[in-house]
């Protein structure tokens, strides 16, 4: 049978393939496996982190968010960069890689065990789908804006907020158009400011070699990065907006070990200086998995786990954010399972199987019940309408629905 385990074609619009899994796999229903995985997450969390099954509590009342004036409410979204599988995270053998999520964050969160992404599993297009609440079909590797309004546009247009009130910190040059769509009712002038820390560092260091370890980019197509377009953050604004001199920026960058650490550093500056109400941080180090080195993938997970905790700590200590911020942490999607012969295990997310589509989400902070596990299936497109309900805008064109347990 010549198709089995075939090598994986990858195209710019996606990262998919047409291979056929091995026959052994045919006898198991992959969506059933995904449900079982979600069940395992729940059971594990119940026993390890001492959290409660949400269904029994749901309806008994939500934590009040009403005490926080709408104008003061803030939302921070962190995408758990590049996709990680359960076996390296929430499964018993993977928990050693996420000590901060397990011990510090999950006990403070409402944890959704089954978040399904039914769209294209490429990082830019999937992140754009998360940001619009619609499964976008744009070219994953081209410099194109989303086709549907983003949360940032809804937020600014409905609530009449300035551009300084919503920011995206994005991992690679390919994300520079994510801040605003080309939708005719929204689009130009209504989106988020996008900051690309690596682009900024390149400009700041004028291509010198001492910070090249922070400039790793575009793991899905390592040979190619789209040209920049759109309204990316300019170097001269570093000092003006972030109150950071180019020299200080470079000096600090040299102490960091990865692109995501650079993103978190920039995020902290952003929070301190501008305190945007809607802040979106896309972490991406984990996606080094595409290079096939398992050790680097695991390093990426451990670093992302640590950085998520650091962002949470910053939120709790920054006066503009403490007590009035709701945080969402979620992967854009997973990675291929070891059992699918059409893939190559952790390396890619090309099979489109149920396990690579089914991930989790953690919500914490203002208005969110702590230590609760929700089993029902959500779609990743539900995020934007939920943010809308929290901040007070209507995601009119989003496909998803507000998550009842959060709004």
């Amino acid at each position: 049978m010549t198709y089995h385990m075939s090598s994986q074609p990858k195209t710019a619009r996606n990262s998919g393939s047409l291979s056929i899994p091995k026959l052994k796999d045919l006898r198991s229903n992959s969506w059933e496996l995904a449900r079982q995985m979600a069940f395992s997450r729940r059971e594990f969390l119940r026993s390890a982190a001492g959290v409660t099954l949400g269904g029994t509590l749901f309806g008994s009342g939500l934590l009040p968010r009403g005490g926080i004036p709408q104008r003061k409410r803030k939302v921070v979204v962190i995408t758990f960069g590049g996709g990680a599988r359960d076996q390296e995270t929430f499964a018993p053998e993977g928990q050693e890689n996420i000590p901060h999520l397990m011990r510090e964050l999950i006990p403070q969160s409402t944890f959704f065990t089954q978040v399904v992404n039914r769209g294209i599993l490429g990082h830019y297009v999937a992140t754009a789908s998360l940001a619009t609440g619609v499964y976008e079909t744009i070219n994953n590797f081209a410099s194109l804006p989303p086709e549907h309004p983003t949360a940032f546009e809804y937020f600014r247009k409905d609530l009449k907020r300035p551009s300084s009130d919503t920011w995206v910190v994005a991992p690679s040059n390919g994300f520079n158009r994510i801040g605003e769509s080309n939708h005719r009712s929204y689009g130009p002038g209504l989106g988020a400011r996008v900051i690309l820390p690596k682009h900024l560092l390149t400009a700041a260091t004028s291509g010198s070699a001492d910070c090249e370890h922070l400039l790793r980019d575009n793991y899905e197509t390592p040979f190619y990065a789209p040209e920049l377009g759109g309204s990316e953050f300019e170097l001269q604004q570093l000092e003006m907006l972030l109150k950071l001199s180019v020299d200080d920026f470079k000096k600090h960058a040299r102490t960091l070990s990865s692109p995501d650490e650079l993103s978190v550093y920039v995020t902290r500056q952003l929070m301190r200086q501008l305190a945007p109400s809607l802040l979106w941080i896309t972490l991406h180090d984990i996606d080094i998995a595409h290079a096939g080195a398992y050790s680097l993938y695991i390093e990426g997970i451990r670093r992302t786990d640590r950085l998520c905790a650091e962002i949470w700590k910053t939120i709790q200590t920054e006066p503009e954010y403490a007590g009035n911020t709701t945080v969402f942490i979620l992967p854009d999607f997973g990675r291929d399972s070891d059992d699918d012969s059409g893939g190559n295990g952790f390396q890619h997310h090309r099979t489109g199987d149920a396990l690579s589509r089914t991930t989790w989400m953690m919500a914490m902070g203002a208005g969110v019940r702590e230590g609760v596990v929700i089993d029902r299936t959500l779609e990743s497109t539900d995020l934007v309408p939920s943010i809308g309900s929290i901040l007070g805008f209507s995601a009119a064109l989003a496909q998803g629905k507000p998550i009842a347990e959060l709004v």
Partner: protein, 409 residues
């Protein structure tokens, strides 16, 4: 063009044996849906450069399709027939460029949310084909060997965690001459059952001396080809309008001569069969992700592809040290001689690579009788998996690798 309009003269660009094969089955191909047929032609067009196991699989698949009645064909391909295609795809030159068609079809299925439907149709077809054309018995039980940890003194974490539950963990292996014992055992199997491309040795570094009966691929031997490929890529990505799809198409067109491999592996003149191996090696570098920069990725991917395509009776894979992670451009432009190495990372990569080698081996026919051995090179730990090996057990018996292999057979 719909498949029903296929004519023999449309296959003139196919290599001779591929052309003969597909024109012999033209009437069969005409009955297949367009959502399926180019996938089959993608395999058939490379028939002249396929391994024997692949050739046999294509022949048997076509023979089976030919044996189906019109009604059966309709039934078998019902799922594929329901896939909606764009006019652009229908007008594509899928006869001469089936691989490009499949790439575009893949993109189209994702964007039109038909991937799951395609997947279901494909699974159904695969299962039916497997039932109609079961695998033939093997000449001998398959044996996989993976050697990890070259150059590492002590692991930071326990090794073989994923493989131990499936076999016996030996903690007192006598490591002296271990690699030679393994290579000798592989050579002995090759001599006992001399099947073309049936016995392989893949090395993630410099290959050790080995019997010429083995099909050998090594990262070090491909260093000149990798350097040529890297420079070609650097030139291409600077061209205006270059994008990932175009680059991928260009990479797919690279042939051994383009990478200065015209002399074939080992510097020998190209002979019958070498072209097959050289094309295989080129594909490792042009289709594999990370194979150009990390030797551990190369070894794992080469093993996966060797198992998938050549379905060897014996496969020995030896992982080596990979370079430390650096920015992609720097890794692409560097050479192994100057690269800083990452021993612990390499060991972790190789450990999961060994697990994937076993998983991929077990996907092949005869899995119930297959055996697998993984050894921490020059150290005393190994795991042995096989029908006679109790699962999830440990043994403190002192034994060399030759003895372990004898216990597996």
């Amino acid at each position: 063009m719909p498949p029903i309009e296929l004519k023999p003269e449309q296959f003139t660009s196919y290599p001779p044996e591929a052309r003969k094969l597909v024109t012999n089955y033209l009437a069969t191909l005409q009955r297949l849906p367009l959502s399926f047929l180019p996938s089959l032609l993608r395999e058939a067009i490379d028939y002249d450069f396929k391994f024997p196991a692949e050739r046999k699989a294509i022949e048997r698949e076509l023979a089976n399709l030919n044996s189906l009645s019109a009604e059966q064909t309709k039934d078998w391909f019902q799922g594929f027939a329901q896939i909606r295609l764009s006019t652009q795809l229908e007008q594509f030159d899928w006869v001469n460029s089936p691989a490009q068609f499949v790439e575009q079809l893949s993109a189209y299925l994702w964007t039109t949310h038909q991937l799951d439907a395609f997947r279901t149709a494909a699974l159904s077809y695969a299962e039916r084909l497997h039932e109609a054309v079961p695998p033939e018995p093997l000449a001998m039980p398959r044996l996989g060997i993976t050697v990890i940890g070259q150059g590492v003194a002590t692991p930071e974490e326990p090794l073989f965690r994923k493989l131990r539950p499936h076999g016996v963990y030996f903690s007192r292996v006598q490591p002296e001459n271990g690699l030679k014992q393994l290579l000798d055992a592989v050579a002995a199997r090759a001599k006992a059952h001399p099947v073309p491309h049936g016995h392989w040795y893949i090395d993630g570094g410099q290959e050790a001396p080995h019997d010429s009966a083995l099909t050998c691929v090594s990262y070090r031997a491909l260093e000149p080809a990798r350097a040529v490929l890297s420079s070609k890529i650097r030139v291409e990505i600077e061209r205006p309008g270059m994008g990932p799809e175009t680059l991928r198409t260009l990479l797919a067109q690279i042939r051994p001569a383009d990478l200065d491999m015209a002399q074939g592996s080992g510097g020998a003149a190209v002979k019958s069969g070498n072209e097959v191996l050289d094309r295989f090696q080129v594909k490792l570098l042009t289709e594999g992700s990370g194979t150009q920069i990390f030797s551990t990725t190369f070894a794992q991917w080469a093993a996966r592809e060797a198992l998938r395509r050549a379905q060897p009776l014996t496969l020995l894979v030896r992982f080596a040290l990979r370079q430390r992670q650096k920015p992609m451009n720097e890794m692409l432009s560097g050479t192994d001689g100057r690269a800083e190495l990452d021993p612990m990372g390499s060991l972790v990569d190789a450990d999961i690579g060994a697990y994937y080698n076993w998983l991929n081996q077990q996907r092949l026919a005869g899995a119930e009788q297959s055996s697998f051995l993984v050894w921490f090179e020059n150290h005393s730990s190994a795991v042995v998996i096989g029908p006679s090996m109790p699962r999830g057990t440990e043994s403190a018996t002192a034994a060399d690798l030759q003895t372990l292999l004898s216990w597996m057979s």
